[in-house]
């Protein structure tokens, strides 16, 4: 992915959110690097992707747009009437949007099902699932992890956007999963940690081979590059014109790592 593509896409994401007056930009920006790296450098044509943190739909849509799978005119409709691109994926209208997500804790099981199907069909496709860190307060995620490990789903990779902020506080303040890496490892998964804004590091983690279900903990910054970077406000509030201008200027100065 050229630097130009990344910057152009990120600016499009910012504009799309501002234009729609949509919230959740913070979580979109924390996972944007990993989605772009995944889609531009790692996913094979038959691989599957499930956006479990459905509130980062914008980042997903823009990644697909950057690959020519969603048109400019469709992006214009984001979060507006008669759109295929609501604030959380509907699971219909665009093949890559495999499932309707937005209620947290669904993606890991859906992905485990996709991964199990690939195994049973003796197909080499791989399955990737992007979660938030707060999402792992949902018991269903742990059910899915137990299942994935038991079924030896080494074709499943779960990325966790660890921006450490959720709706009403930090993840540690709200209900702490303590050391998430240790807990995840203790369930039998291969857990890697990397800087979720470092493209090379993300790619290395994605390419790391293992015979276990893999989890990549992405250390990220919520609302990265905005005026409400690393603040709760970035979870819900839309970008004001001033914040959009600031964020776009920051993006233009980005050195793609």
């Amino acid at each position: 992915m050229e630097k130009k593509t990344f910057i152009e896409s990120k600016i499009f994401l910012l504009k799309m959110h501002a234009n729609a007056n949509a919230g959740h930009i913070g979580g979109n920006l924390s996972c944007f690097d990993s989605i772009m790296v995944l889609f531009h450098h790692h996913l094979a044509i038959h691989d599957r992707f499930v956006l479990s943190k459905g509130h980062s739909a914008g980042a997903f849509y823009i990644a697909l747009w950057s690959l020519g799978k969603i048109s400019d005119s469709e992006i214009e409709t984001f979060c507006k009437d008669d759109t295929k691109l609501p604030g959380h994926p509907s699971g219909t209208g665009i093949p890559e949007l495999m499932f309707p997500t937005g209620s947290l804790g669904h993606g890991p099981s859906l992905s485990a099902g996709l991964a199990l199907a690939a195994k049973k069909q003796k197909n080499h496709r791989k399955v990737y699932c992007l979660c938030s860190d707060g999402e792992w307060q949902e018991g269903s995620c742990w059910e899915a992890l137990i299942f994935a490990v038991h079924q030896k789903l080494d074709n499943l990779t779960i990325l966790i956007d660890q921006n450490k902020l959720q709706g009403f506080g930090t993840t540690d303040e709200v209900i702490s999963c303590c050391d998430l890496q240790t807990r995840l490892s203790s369930f039998g998964a291969k857990v890697l940690t990397c800087d979720g804004h470092d493209h090379a590091a993300i790619l290395r983690a994605l390419e790391c081979k293992t015979d276990l279900p893999k989890i990549i903990l992405l250390n990220t910054v919520k609302g990265k590059g905005t005026l409400f970077e690393n603040k709760l406000e970035s979870h819900y509030l839309p970008l004001t014109p001033k914040n959009l201008e600031f964020s776009m200027a920051q993006t233009m100065r980005t050195q793609v790592p």
Binding site: S90, G91, T92, M98, F99, P100, T101, G102, S103, G105, H106, P108, S109, L110, S111, A112, G113, L114, A115, L116, A117, A118, K120, Q121, G139, S140, E143, A144, I146, F147, H150, Q151
Partner: protein, 296 residues
Amino acid sequence: MRKAFAEAMVEAASDPSLFFFTVDVGFMALEEVRDAFGDRFVNAGIAEQNLIGVSAGMAKEGYKVFSYSIAPFLYARPFEQIRNDICFSKLPVCLVGNGGGYAYGHMGPTHHALEDCAAMSALGVRILVPAFDEDLGEVIKGIFGPTYLRLGYDARPAGSFIPAYAPWRQVLDGQNGLLVALGPLAGVAIAALADCEFQKRPAVWAVCELGEGVVPHEFWERVPSANLHIFEEHIAEGGLGMQLSYSFLKKGIQPARFLHRHALGYPSGTYGSQEFHRKQCGLDHESIRNLFLKNP
């Protein structure tokens, strides 16, 4: 009925597009299914939310998935997964709920399924309630979208003749109005009324699928001016009786009499066998018989 279900699944097992999940239930019932399905049978452990998500994932990749558990564990606990993961995408997953109504009797209220049809109807799930063991072979053939299969006990008397499967069918003739029974209660009605005089007993209809679209024309024709008795081991809200009465209103059909017997929950505050609970709700053999012989 779960034995008949297992036999039907074994019969169908050669279809490689079928996949079977249980959540660690089915001991002494599913062993032959497991053997017949081989690596297409997975015990997903005691985790119903995960079961539904995994089933949806499998269905998305082309499988027709049967997901089996005790009924309330299947439709109530993972309700949102059924809604979001299966129904929004209209995936071919058949939720097989064993123990419809009070079938788990003494096991207590957590194991009873009294509002399952209402809950699944609200999501647009196709609802199948086989009445007799022989129905199972037919009902599992047509799984093309979200489906809920409610299993109970075949209660008809040994040796009674049952016409070939249809979603709605008359299973006993009579002249004293119509008795419409959901699933296995049709067998209870046959047992209660088969030896009654033709003039005193109602025509008994077995309903094995909910939804206005499957009701035959012949039934609608017979309702006006008939005494209609509806029996279901399900709460009134959202069940067969309410769904039918809405259809009557839309169609401008009015029966002469509308009697609806349904599950009442636990009116005495005590618990017992399926027969005990049916009796409390007027759904048992004796209550049905008395309704027609003592109050014709």
